[in-house]
Amino acid sequence: MVKITIDDKQIEVAEGTTILKAAEQEGIHIPHLCYHPAFPSEGNCRMCLVEIEGLPTLELACSTQVRDGMKVSTRSEQVVEARRGVLEFLLAEHPLDCPICDKAGECKLQDYYEEYGLFESQFNETKAKRAKKTEIGKSLIHDQERCILCTRCVRFLKEVTKTQELGVFNRGLHSEINIYDGVPVNNNYSGNLAEICPVGAITDSDFRFKTRSWFLKNGESICPLCSRGCNIVIEHHPGFARFPVPKRVYRIKARENQDVNGFWICDLGRYGYSYLNEDRAEEILTNNQEKTGSPSWEEVRSLIAQKIKSPPYKKIGSRMALILHSWLSNEEFFLVRKIFQDDLRVEKIFFVDPPEGEKDGHLLTPERSPNRRGAQEVGFDLKPLDLDALAKETELLLVFGHFLLDFFNRAEVRACFEKIGTKILITPHINESGYLFDMVIPTASIAEKEGSLTNVDGKIQSFRPVLEPLGASLPEWKALIDLAKELKINFDYYRRLYSVEVILNELRKEIPFFGNKK
């Protein structure tokens, strides 16, 4: 450990720590543009210069390692002047695009100018004109005038994806970042470029001109589109009082987790958030709805409980069938197992998950659902669906998830379903498959409920609700508890499971895999 002084504060840090990291540990933010924790220091923006006692020139905080006895000042007159100097240079050749730039509100240049700048421009020359709004990839728009040549994008494509689509051309002020003709940025991590660009030089075409960053509310969640469980931030618009907004969720961003996804998320997860906005089931739908209107959950669950309990209770195991999907949380899988497998002795439990895809050599897994591992650890053997086996003697079918028609065509499913008495779909999404069922119960997506998921490596990650549930939708765990209580089997046990936290504790007690794990 090494003892240093930062801004008159004495602290101890590990040897080899940079001044920037040491300051961060103490909550002192040293402004920087080109530095990113994922890459070795580049040192070209010159924004993080700090004063070190005894040295004649200012030094970079991002690359200078602490030494015992070092005295650092991050706010001395010299340092503040140096920052203004760098800002003045950057803004001199920067276009005044804020009114039309998507980065406004989360732009480092704006932020630092507000804090350290606030000067009037002394630039009386002609700014260099360059290419603006060029598409450099399937989801990226590039503006060379805004670029401050921090080279984060170039370094990302060199060191993380190793695809090198961007390069720095020419020299001096003519330097520009660009793609090679006909080779756009075409990898599964391109969206990260718009995130790491400190200014609006690389922006997301998905987000372009849609809204302003300051209208959005952020919430931490987990991406469910594969089994990596990347940590994400969901940005949604809470709406305006006087007029509607066209979207709910506007953007997904990456959230750092060195045990799961590092600093990044893939484009599939970043741009695949339509499942949060579109085709949502919001009401309970039944076959004779036109006459009687949409029933309430209380009515529906008593109906289901009745169907489960009659005729003779003891044959429920062969009379019922379940189709599950791996988007259910650990807690929900636990409840399904306890209620249906253990208590009701249902044998016909199948899984239908989204079709598998290709790996991408980095984060994306072939499994395109978040909790297959969770299902396994809870005790399911993830039997794939066999339509014939499904229909045999089945009078009541509960289907969780809307992926049926990804594997089977309507005709065969219809033929199978004709042999089954009552078919109930429990899903956050309404699609073609909904029409095959007698009843659709709307449930919450992962962003609207709480629980935990187990990723492909066995890491258990909890998530909390970030969005309001839509309409009458409710989380599966609540539906299952309500149903269990309605069935009056093992009532005392299920009665106590009133929250996800309690369910998780039970799960931990019963299955060692989940116990005592962080």
Binding site: Q164, E165, L166, G167, V168, F169, R171, Y180, D181
Partner: protein, 157 residues
């Protein structure tokens, strides 16, 4: 039609590659040879060099656009590069530049109609004791005046 090096150049290239522990390091010598052989380094040559050194073409372009002596487009047979730096400026190189512009009928960076001469300026050539100077392809000419320039151009066939 992708370009290929001549047999002779291929031999030189192989020898050059053997000098460095990493093939990439040979990029400048190889680019000089490429420019000599093909006149310039267009996207076709970029791909050729990229393949030879095991790098991406974008990497070749990054290098070509950085260095003043590497040209992406063909120039005239004789590239006249007049020094525009300090000692030459002190000794009146501006006038000689104007003289050349008028004589050849081109502006800076342009090539004569018959594709014989391209005129540009260059930074200090390292021949300040002979200021004002210019470099034609790789040949240095110093202590210039209008008459000497006339003679030099005459002798360039």
């Amino acid at each position: 039609m992708s370009p290929e090096f001549s047999e002779n150049t291929k031999k030189k290239v192989d020898e050059i590659l053997s000098r460095y522990p990493q093939k990439e390091a040979a990029i400048l010598p190889v680019l000089h040879l490429t420019q000599q052989e093909f006149g310039c380094i267009s996207p076709e040559e970029e791909k050729l060099v990229a393949k030879l050194l095991g790098v991406k073409p974008i990497k070749v372009r990054e290098v070509v656009t950085f260095y003043s002596m590497l040209n992406r487009e063909p120039l005239g047979k004789y590239h006249i590069q007049v020094c525009s730096n300090l000692s030459c400026s002190l000794l009146g190189v501006e006038n000689l530049l104007d003289y050349l512009k008028k004589k050849l009928g081109v502006e800076l960076g342009e090539t004569t109609q018959d594709k014989k001469f391209t005129l540009s300026t260059v930074e200090c050539l390292g021949a300040c004791e002979q200021a004002p100077c210019m470099m034609v392809n790789f040949d240095y000419y110093g202590n210039l005046d209008a008459k000497k320039i006339d003679k030099i151009l005459e002798n360039l066939k």
